[in-house]
């Protein structure tokens, strides 16, 4: 289960950049600024496209 986490700390190198995290664990910390990230969005895998019949 993957999550996209986003740091919103002003001036942070990762500010407003979505980063995919495989293991969200208990706490997610932004490495560059050290602030805990609370903006976590679970990534839902897109369903595989259905096969279509050719004409």
């Amino acid at each position: 289960m993957a999550y996209v986490v986003t740091c919103h700390t002003a001036g942070c190198e990762n500010e407003n950049i979505g980063i995919e995290v495989i293991d969200p664990a208990n706490t997610i910390i932004c490495g560059p600024c050290g602030v805990e990230i609370t903006d976590k969005v679970e990534v839902v895998a897109e369903p595989a496209p259905k096969a279509t019949k050719g004409k």
Binding site: I17, I19, T27, G31, P32
Partner: protein
């Protein structure tokens, strides 16, 4: 070719040199710079520190941090820093020695998870974790 730069000894012409020798002077300077950058055939996409004729590659990408973690926590790397999963090294910075160790869990190109321990029990107190992530070459983690 009367002068050399202070730090790297790159050759340069002086104002009294002949203009007809300009191409030769520029080539000499270009060769100096090219030689200083080292063997980028062996170490593509990397800065190479060439000293005494030996090329020593600088790591392709690194990220270093110090974060406070209680029990466990996932730390994100600087966005876009790594193209391969880096090797991560970590230590606990503790003045009272109650948080005795840190282990590195799942790691990827974007983040790493740390676990802090007091003996064999997960720590319930915050501990400062100093860490370094290294991707040695553009194509591989180690090198």
């Amino acid at each position: 070719m009367a002068g050399t730069t202070t730090n790297f000894g790159f050759d340069y012409p002086t104002s009294t040199d002949y203009v007809k020798d300009g191409a030769t002077a520029i080539q000499a300077l270009a060769d100096d710079v090219d030689g200083r950058f080292g063997d980028i055939t062996t170490y593509p996409n990397q800065i190479v520190n060439r000293v005494s004729g030996v090329s020593r590659p600088v790591a392709y990408a690194t990220n270093v941090g110090s974060n406070s973690i209680t029990g466990s926590g996932t730390v994100t790397f600087a966005a876009g820093r790594f193209t391969q999963t880096p090797i991560v090294l970590a230590t606990v910075s503790s003045t009272n020695n109650t948080r005795t160790s840190v282990t590195v869990g799942i790691s990827g190109t974007t983040s790493v998870t740390f676990y802090v321990w007091s003996g064999t029990v997960a720590s319930t107190s915050a501990a400062a974790i100093n860490w370094q992530a290294i991707q040695q070459t553009s194509a591989a983690t180690a090198g």
